[in-house]
């Protein structure tokens, strides 16, 4: 378990986009001539001017272009390139998040008010889709735990439940009932409080684009991508386990926990390997997406084949 706590960083200390771009260029060049292998230094630490989170990976970042053009966001269409094409209709300002359920501070919160007391930090996480592809994404965000503490959940609050906006005018994909709208997700309280769990607000030092779930989304790096609910408008504290959207759509294929697990195959895909976007060869999928050190203890004694 990592005990290092990342220090608060100011917005202007965060790696800005140009530096990322330069780093990308540098990495590409470095890969070509083998500089990184010779120097042996993690390039990210050598280049970032912001504070590097101890939770961040130093793996090669997925291109911004790929992260913002290859998306699953059925609210804007079921094709991978649909969200980038259609998500411009989403209005993210003003944005209100309703907090309700088993907590002391329910209410309607403006996004600015939710973000005011938090410090946005950078976390470079692996992202693994249930379909067998993966990315390395430099998220901007803050720990979900910060927000939960402020809402003062009661002792009855065992789960945190999230909902995406439900507005077919802004989200044209919702005109078709491919999924049961609104999109719903949930975490057990200990999962939600885990320091890895983020509320994402940006990538590559920039605000989230609509197709990536602007303005506020969940980031749980040890779970399959669909758990990372986007464009959140409701957070609710519940006593019982909610039913998430994909579980409702097909409970033989998608569970509540949905932890990345190469040992439990999806009926239509082996989960043993993954295609890292931007790479030719497939790589082996790691249990809990490589975050076992931080999260395996949450599932002690659970049969992960049963609770997939």
């Amino acid at each position: 378990m990592l005990i290092l706590k990342s220090k608060d960083i100011k917005e202007n200390e965060v790696t800005d986009f140009e530096i990322y771009q330069n780093r990308r260029k540098f990495m590409k060049t470095a890969a070509g001539v083998g500089i990184s292998a010779v120097s042996g230094l993690p390039i990210i630490q050598a280049n970032a001017k912001g504070v590097v989170s101890p939770y961040s990976t130093d793996e090669k970042l997925t291109d911004y272009e790929d992260i913002t053009s290859y998306c699953n966001f059925y609210e804007f269409g079921t094709g991978k390139s649909d969200p980038a094409r259609n998500a411009h209709t989403l209005v993210t300002s003003p944005w209100t998040v309703t907090v309700e359920g088993e907590c002391e501070k329910p209410g309607q919160y403006n996004l600015e008010d939710l973000l005011k007391p938090v410090s946005i930090e950078e976390r470079i996480y692996r992202f693994r889709c249930v379909e067998g592809w993966s990315m390395v994404i430099p998220w901007m965000g803050f720990p979900l735990a910060d927000l939960i503490k402020r809402m003062q959940p009661t002792s009855k609050a065992k789960y945190v439940y999230f909902e995406t906006l439900n507005d077919p005018e802004q989200m044209p994909g919702q005109k078709r009932a491919v999924l049961d709208w609104p999109y719903r997700e949930g975490l057990r309280m200990d999962e939600a409080m885990n320091p890895l769990t983020l509320m994402g607000t940006g990538i590559y030092g920039k605000d989230l684009l609509n197709q990536n779930g602007a303005p506020l989304r969940l980031v749980v790096p040890w779970k399959y991508g669909f758990k990372n609910i986007k464009s959140i408008v409701k957070i609710s504290f519940l006593e019982t386990q909610p039913v998430n959207t994909w579980q409702k759509a097909n409970k033989n294929e998608y569970g509540f926990f949905s932890n990345v697990n190469p040992e439990v195959s999806h009926p239509r895909w082996s989960q043993r390997k993954e295609r890292r976007i931007g790479q030719f060869r497939k790589i082996k999928t790691q249990k809990f997406n490589g975050y076992g050190e931080q999260v395996a203890s949450l599932y002690k004694g659970m049969d992960l084949k049963k609770y997939y």
Binding site: S69, K80, E131, P267, R281, K282
Partner: protein, 197 residues
């Protein structure tokens, strides 16, 4: 309808041959120029599968076309269309074996046994192979009556191909539903012909 004979063989068939080659060239070029999006290998595998299915269905359009617009020459396009369908099936399969599994035969065998959509796709490929191999004039002559019986397997293969697509899709079955509808029309036209005569 009839296209003047030298034009039919020299121009029309040549044009069709070049046209059917274009998707393969497009995917080859797309990979080379990195124009196929964030996941180009998957785009190639899926795209080749799409074209295999489209051309396979096109082979089944020829005999209704002959009946409907009285165009006997349509039947003489079937061999080229069928072989092209097989060509795209082989590329599609090769794409899967290489780009998806990197020739990890243990993993591939696992896939065939455990994933119904792979099982059925593989079955369609196995059944289509003897049809491609017996498409020469010599084989048609040698097999005689049995040739037609063997080649009526194409109906089963087309059904398997559509199911293969349907079961592969995660949620939105619009596309496989369209192909299913087209196949259903093509098959029922034949049933109608059979029972009305």
């Amino acid at each position: 309808m009839k296209i003047a004979e030298p034009y039919f063989t020299r121009v029309f068939k040549t044009l069709l041959f070049v046209l059917l080659l274009l998707p393969a060239l497009y995917y080859g070029w797309g990979i080379w120029q990195d124009q196929l999006g964030a996941n180009p290998l998957e785009a190639v595998i899926r795209g080749l599968g799409d074209w295999a299915l489209r051309i396979l269905l096109l082979t089944l359009v020829m005999s209704p076309l002959r009946r409907m617009i009285n165009w006997a020459q349509a039947l003489r396009l079937r061999r080229m269309l069928g072989l092209y369908a097989y060509f795209y099936v082989v590329l599609h399969l090769l794409g899967y074996l290489w780009f998806d599994q990197f020739f990890d035969w243990e993993e591939i065998w696992f896939d065939i046994l455990e994933r119904p959509f792979i099982t059925i796709g593989m079955a369609a490929f196995v059944l289509l192979t003897p049809l491609a191999l017996t498409s020469t004039k010599g084989m048609i002559r040698r097999l005689g009556k049995n040739w037609k019986r063997l080649h009526s397997l194409v109906y089963l293969i087309a059904i398997l191909a559509v199911i293969h697509f349907w079961w592969m899709v995660k949620l939105d079955v619009t596309e496989p539903a369209i192909y299913s509808a087209i196949l259903a029309i093509l098959l029922s036209e034949r049933l109608y012909q059979k029972f009305s005569s």
